[in-house]
């Protein structure tokens, strides 16, 4: 079952691309020009996240090198061990609701530290990919129209974040452990 699902992962991307290209064919959209125009944004996005990556990767690398993580890890280890969660992923869990770019930085730091094929990297990747930064979205959307009382919007978002986090940990363990 898991093997089937893993190979399904492999075919999902080609499937989506095929659907997109076929509908471009049907609608007679200038696919090539459209592609070029969209691809230009990729450059901007990559450049835009550089300062965030540097800030967070440098800060967390320093934090780790100083031995502070070992102290923090000692407290959390029993919990993390029970659920087979690599302690390196703790930072991802903390930052993911706060800042998307920072979370990418933490992901980069985990890859740096444990290697790209480690379970910690995979779990962190799933956590990063499955969430949106609750606080950022709230401040942008509510800020744009001048809403001051958020009522239960943030609470619902955070509860969903926590549920998603637990789901990510569970699903990652099924797929990759």
């Amino acid at each position: 079952m898991i093997k089937f699902l893993t190979s399904l992962s492999l075919y999902l991307l080609p499937l989506i691309i095929t659907i997109i290209l076929c509908s471009a064919l049907v609608k007679k959209t200038p696919a090539y020009e459209s592609f070029i125009e969209g691809a230009r944004d990729g450059f901007n996005i990559a450049i835009k996240i550089i300062p965030y990556l540097i800030a967070i990767m440098a800060a967390s690398a320093m934090f780790r090198a100083s031995g502070a993580v070992d102290i923090l890890g000692k407290f959390l280890n029993p919990v993390f061990e029970t659920f087979k969660i690599p302690p390196q992923t703790l930072m991802v869990m903390i930052t993911r609701s706060l800042s998307g770019s920072a979370t990418l930085g933490v992901l980069g730091d985990i890859i740096n530290q444990t290697g790209v094929d480690s379970y910690a990297t995979k779990l962190a990747a799933i956590i990063t990919g499955s969430s949106e930064t609750t606080f950022y979205v709230a401040s942008v959307y509510f800020g744009a129209v001048g809403i001051k009382k958020f009522r239960y919007a943030l609470l619902s978002g955070i509860m969903a974040d926590i549920t998603g986090l637990i789901a990510a940990i569970y699903i990652a363990s099924i797929f990759f452990l």
Binding site: T29, F35, G38, M57, A125, T128, V140
Partner: protein
Amino acid sequence: MNYIFIFLILISFVCALINGRMDIVIDEMLKASTRAVEIALGLIGIMAFWLGIVNIAKDCGLIDLFSKLIKKPLLLLFPDLKNNPSALSNIALNISANALGLTNAATPFGIKAMEDMQEKNQNKEIATDSMCMFLAVNTAGFQLVPAVVIAILSANGMKNPTQIILPTLFATTIAFISSIFFAKIFQKLSQAKKELFK
């Protein structure tokens, strides 16, 4: 984020002082900065490719089609938008664009949807139920393909980074459903509270 950043660096200096590892900390600081740029640059190719592909989807009307399809089910989540078709279609467009990872395209739709809802809002400073629901759903970040994450994994040499697509999709779907669930529950609770104080 401010405090996390400051806290991380200051604590590292203190711990480094205690553990006598200041040299390693400084070394790591410099190395990590270089690594960050390398990762970001390595990301350009894949990000550009993906955004090129989804731009075709946008131009040939796939996103519009998708948003039309989800409009009906969306009415279940936003019952008070029955008389606000503009808000509903902007929400549909926002969710569709987000699902494809077009965050930059999704944000204007989202803000437009908020403005549409604000127009009918009685008290301009307090969020309506629909606004809260929209925000909750949005923060769950439903996405078909986590392009940036795949790009980072691949830039670092993972052999088949697409292996994370499906597990990520499961996790984000669960987050999406639970955001609806929690928003509905809190909505019911706040209604009950209002009745109580009437």
